[in-house]
Symmetry: C2
């Protein structure tokens, strides 16, 4: 069966996020002063061919750990949908 994984890779909360900080300032400069705590990470979507949802989850987790996320600096989470 075919699954779609929606993966978010974000900088760890304990770390500074200079890109987020810069965007935060830019939003304020545009007049959007009600916005704060901007953090920027990656969103990755991919298709997984697997026998079941458990296997798809295992494959996605392995992809995150081995390539997509640098766990020293980033955390990841994902959801799986069919199709």
């Amino acid at each position: 069966m075919k699954y779609t994984a929606h993966i978010n890779v974000m900088p760890l909360k304990e770390l500074l996020d200079p890109q987020g900080k810069a965007v935060n300032n830019s939003l304020h400069n545009l007049g959007l002063t009600n916005v704060n705590d901007v953090r920027i990470g990656k969103h990755i979507s991919l298709h997984v061919e697997a026998a079941g949802k458990d296997e798809a989850e295992k494959i996605t987790r392995e992809a995150c750990k081995r390539l997509l996320a640098n766990q020293v600096m980033e955390s990841f989470d994902f959801t799986l949908t069919e199709g």
Copy 2:
């Protein structure tokens, strides 16, 4: 009230995504050959201070249109949660 916006900015489906293609190939090289159609975009989280959910949505949409997404090449979607 305080809302958290979870924003995804992705390259348009009609466009090539060379970063996604490179990651796709890397995953295959790592032995994860069941993975395909990798596309990579940005995930942005931010806090919005607004009177209600409608206003929070309006502010988030404006932030996406004016700064976060380049609508020539990217599409965006977001969800809002309280707190």
